[in-house]
Symmetry: C2
Subunit: 370 residues, 2 copies
């Protein structure tokens, strides 16, 4: 007997880990704000002004619940993607959709395959539903699709995660490679294909959407190139039976009402998206140039950030990150062996990259001197 | 073998039910909008104009993720409630927090006690995590706290749900009765006390908050009296160890960034809240008068809606609801035996209640004539 309600054995076993500490928590601990917020792969270029206006317009309607079917937004997404509305489900960001996808397929002891150092929130959900994360090291700073395939087969795993383009390296596979990977998977293995960074990738990175494939779930978001991380609005695309399964467990009124208005306005302003993608590409180039000017090696990136190889071990890269943070520049870094030699800098406006450029030499000197 | 990934046995067993069909879906099916939206217990009085302004101001910052700790909002809530920040967790509406609370304590076969006809989304989550709903009939149109207690003991149930004030009846227990109920529960039974309608209840309805009680979780929201249903922002208050358990499973970046700004502004404008509560009370009185003028019996209500006893059986009340909907008045009704003689009408501005008043005689005639 205990003197309080008992958690389920699974809940009891879970650590109270937080996948990421937010920049706001760091600001509170430091007692002062960051001058450059380029650590969370947000888009400092922000959303389209039309989206901002649509959100302001929607503010007066927030006394209403959202349409639980998210019909208008799904309709617009389906039209854009060339699929049926029944092939699309909208959720509280990719994080919320990953929660649901894992919950549908993972229970006690289920092996789930991912890459060592890939998106920690996915692992958080796998562990949270009792699954067992089987992590395959990156190869040449890319997710190792042959290695993933081999481990899926060895473990008879019902789910495998691939982000393309990849976070935290910024690397990518071409569409043909992803299609080869998907085709080689057992029919009973669900490929969770996280395309959060799809809009910033080179043409030919995203495979055509094929909803006849029953074991591929595509995940996309308004958080990155669309500049709407705070909206919490993502979508999943797949076979209609797969998408229908989300209805069994999703919180039907879970999506903020403004997300629908903002998402519709964002989709409608593809000119802005194209311009934002251009700005992001220019910012990537500038981050790479800042790295090179400081003797560091930027990794090629198809995303809205650049991983910078600091040229030594993980301990050194950690010092570089800490020195940047001490200089009011919010950046993050991968922690997995092999990737941990890098720091990760998000694309942002010139004013923020000016600060990065100004502080990087001092941060490196600090790191070398410690 | 199947030709596709297999859902977990639990997920496979779940129906693809939707707890509520939204008014938007009805509008799409009807091909025309409702003239009065008084069915979902939203507040047509809306949020404070200061909240609307705060949301419009926040629109330009939506490129940032929320603070995953929701620190400022939790801080403000804790100060208002007289508890520590560690006693408060913010989530994606009460629906999202119910998902988490159930997931922490309910697994395969766990008996969970609620009232027959109480909040269906709670049941949706219980079933969704493999629990077994044990439902106790209402007594005299109130949740039967002695009956709930008796069934908790019989089932040795680790969780019991009580909404006070209650949806869908509008009834309430006084604080002393709720405290007696909580004190009588086994220490190992978690009382999920849904106080979504707490702000509109008479003084003396909500027990003082006592976070030393380890088996009571209080749930509140900005959706009802604060007029922010579309925001998806609720909060749970309890013992710090209980609240800490939510960290194990919640989606840390799940709350929309605007929710923090709007919630803070809403809390800061208590004058508006008081005025809104007054408007809601006046609207309740008017709904009751409309019911009585049509020979129907309004139930007393501590909420932002009124259940109206249509004086015959459930089939008749269903016809009344359908006739109102056909006349472009969106209302809902309870479906549980005993409660199903009622329709449920949400408080709203006079313009919407004018439409209700105008259409009710015809709707009743339609229902009687069918």
């Amino acid at each position: 007997m205990t003197d309080r309600p008992r958690l389920t054995p699974l809940a009891e076993s879970l650590p109270a880990t937080v996948p990421f500490v937010g920049p706001e928590a760091q600001e509170r601990a430091r007692g002062r704000p960051f001058r450059a917020r380029i650590g969370a792969n947000e888009s400092g270029f922000g959303p389209s002004p039309r989206v901002v206006a649509a959100m302001a317009d929607a503010a007066g309607q927030m006394w209403k619940y959202c349409d639980p079917e998210n019909h208008e937004l799904r309709d617009a997404l389906a039209a854009r993607l060339g699929v049926g509305i029944d092939n699309v489900v909208v959720g509280e960001g990719i994080d919320g959709l990953l929660n649901l996808a894992v919950r549908l397929f993972v229970s006690g002891g289920t092996p789930v395959v991912t890459s060592l150092g890939a998106y920690p929130t996915f692992n958080f959900h796998v562990v949270g539903f009792g699954g067992r994360v089987v992590a395959v090291p990156y190869a040449h700073d890319r997710e190792d699709i042959d290695g993933l395939l081999s481990v899926v087969r060895r473990e008879n795993a019902p789910m495998v995660y691939l982000s393309n383009p990849d976070n935290p390296t910024g690397s990518w596979w071409e569409a043909a490679d992803v299609e080869r990977f998907a085709a080689a998977l057992p029919a009973t293995t669900m490929l969770v294909l996280d395309e959060a960074y799809g809009e910033t990738a080179p043409a030919g990175t995203l495979p055509p959407i094929d909803v006849s494939r029953k074991n591929v779930l595509r995940l996309r978001t308004f958080s990155k190139a669309y500049g709407l991380a705070g909206l919490r609005c993502g979508y999943a695309v797949g076979d209609a039976e797969l998408i229908r399964a989300f209805e069994k467990i999703r919180t039907h009124y879970g999506v903020n009402r403004m997300a629908q208005a903002a998402g519709l306005a964002a989709l409608a302003d593809q000119d802005y998206l194209a311009a934002a993608v251009g700005r992001i590409a220019a910012a990537r180039a500038r981050i790479a140039a800042i790295a090179q000017a400081n003797g560091l090696s930027p990794l090629p990136s198809a995303t809205n950030f650049v991983a910078i190889d600091c040229g030594r071990d993980g301990a050194f890269a950690l010092k570089v990150m800490q020195a940047l943070i001490a200089r009011d520049v919010f950046v993050r870094k991968p922690m997995a062996p092999g990737l941990d030699r890098c720091i990760r800098v998000s694309a942002g406006p010139d004013a923020e990259l000016d600060i990065l450029a100004a502080e990087m030499p001092g941060a490196l000197a600090d790191a070398r001197g410690n």
